[in-house]
Amino acid sequence: MSLARAIATGDVAQLPSRRDEAWRWSDLRGLIRVLPPASGASDAELPPGPFDGLADFEIAIVNGRGPPAVDLAEGETRRVALRFVAAPGAGAHSACFAVNLGDGARCLLLESYEGRGDGYVASADIDIRLGRGATLERIVMADDTGEGVSVSKTAVSLGAEAVFGQTVLTAGARRQRIETQLDHPGAGAVARLDGLYLLGDKRHADITTVVSHCGAGGATDQLTKGVVRDQARGVFQGRIVVAKGADQTDARMGHHALVLSDRAEVDAKPELEIYADDVLCAHGNTVGALDEEALFYARQRGIPEAQARAMLMQAFLAQVIDRIEDAGARGAAADWLMRQLEARDEF
């Protein structure tokens, strides 16, 4: 069952529902009674995307229509902007895309979800393969509307000694899931999977990751942080599986969220499944309010309350941004965070 299949068949019974354990906090079946009509082709001119000027070239997939793949040859270096756009008037659509990096290739993948319509329902399935010693840094910026439904599911496979980094930035949607499944070969490969969510109103965002360490000598480092207010709901599901024989695995996962109103909610499920003996694995998960002592301390020094809150929030969240390797992408992510914080002074 998946959103893509439901869109392909027009059968809402194919939608994942809360009876599926992996979807219990992001129910689609109960939300979507009738799918909107299939999205048509859009001839509207595309405004610049959020990573404008940072990429060598841009691939736009509008209402599910666009190129199927990008391939980097062995040793090639590219900065690619990949845009999934739901144009004004969009209904239901789905897309598949593949990113293939040959051995030793290096790629900065600047991926955006740009919802411009109202009641759209969009699905994206992405397949990412890194050859031996290849490096990919993927920044996902999800800019959906409060009425849109968006599901993005990515499968990543890594060659030996590959380096994969990912940072998901989202302000949520009516319902939104950004899922990453990563097959980790060990063998000196390194993965970083980070996330940042800032949700207000009735928005929802679900960041789900599953990392499967299948071979010895791999490292995974995950840090997700979020802030929810109003009646928003943030979901973090992080699972790390270390298979038998995947010794010397070093895996760390952290999720830390601030809940700023009584009616906002964060659901977190960090899971470690370890079948190997000689591993270093740790996870930490905290959900709480803004530190009132720090807030008073800042106010005692003369910083007005709203400014003090924004400063502490920014400091809390910026740690995720600081982990982005590429300076240009880091700057774009920092700008995004400032925009989100400024859009609502109460954040």
């Binding site: 008073f296 301390y297 005692q300 003369g302 910083i303 309350e305 400014q307």
Partner: protein, 254 residues
């Protein structure tokens, strides 16, 4: 003509979590003077400092506090700070993710904005803080770290006095500034405080022990016990307390 006090506390009563801590406290500090408040643990010393700073949860149930002719209790904490009220915390709070430099500059400029003054330029700010930090033997590199995160007790206290020097308040409240300091750090901190003495500044030094007052000579000493000032005198009172203890001020249970 008598000098009008800069800070005037009349009949102040404060409750925390519904429990009455201060019960009718009176205290006046004229401009240019340093007053010490001493007292046993649990007498309400920290409650007095928090009530003056406006900490949420410290409920004023009676009395008035007049600061420079204005009703201090009517102001939000950040407005009190902009009016020149500074509290050196007994336990300074960690501010993860905000470098000390950024925090202090943000605070200084926020106060300037509130008072309608021009902001301090980055070069002027850096020049000033380098000088002040050097005087307090604070390594400049430490100012690039998140404020108070991982700092030792002594480093935190020196960071409080650095903020005191940078923000240049007109009422400095020092809450147990000597706790956690070794003798060298105590001397450095005391020199920092003494450098701030000025005819247009009042200071309130809250302490359990007399040793800080060997370095910061107070004009007046007050004894706080059972939620009120029970004795006042000159600096010699601190020595008497050191010799005799607080027993004779302990409240006899009703």
């Amino acid at each position: 003509m008598t000098m009008k006090p800069m800070l005037s506390i009349q009949n102040l009563s404060v409750s925390v979590d519904g429990k009455s801590i201060l019960e009718g406290l009176d205290l006046e500090i004229p401009a240019g003077e340093v007053h010490a408040v001493m007292g046993p643990n649990g007498a309400g010393k920290s409650t007095l400092s928090y009530a003056l700073a406006g900490r949420p949860g410290y409920e004023v149930t009676a009395g008035t506090v007049t600061w420079d002719g204005e009703d201090l209790l009517a102001l939000a904490p950040d407005l009190r700070a902009a009016r020149g009220v500074f509290l050196s915390f007994q336990y300074p709070t960690e501010i993860p993710g905000v470098p000390a430099l950024t925090f202090i500059r943000t605070a200084l400029n926020a106060q300037h904005r509130t008072r309608g003054e021009a902001e301090v330029s980055a070069p002027d700010f850096l020049r000033l803080i380098r000088t002040k930090a050097a005087a307090l033997k604070i390594d400049f590199e430490m100012l690039k770290r998140a404020l108070n995160v991982g700092f030792s007790g002594g480093e935190k206290k020196r960071m409080e006095i650095l903020q005191l020097a940078m923000l240049s308040p007109r009422l400095a409240i020092l809450d147990e500034t000597d706790s956690g300091l070794d003798i060298d750090a105590l001397r450095i901190v005391a020199e920092g405080v003494n450098a701030m003495r000025s005819p247009d500044r009042a200071m309130l030094v809250i302490t359990h022990y007399q040793r800080l007052l060997d370095h910061i000579r107070p004009d007046r000493v007050h004894v706080l016990a059972g939620g009120r000032i029970v004795a006042s005198g000159g600096p010699e009172l601190a020595h008497a307390l050191e010799a005799e203890g607080y027993d004779k001020y302990a409240r006899v249970p009703a």
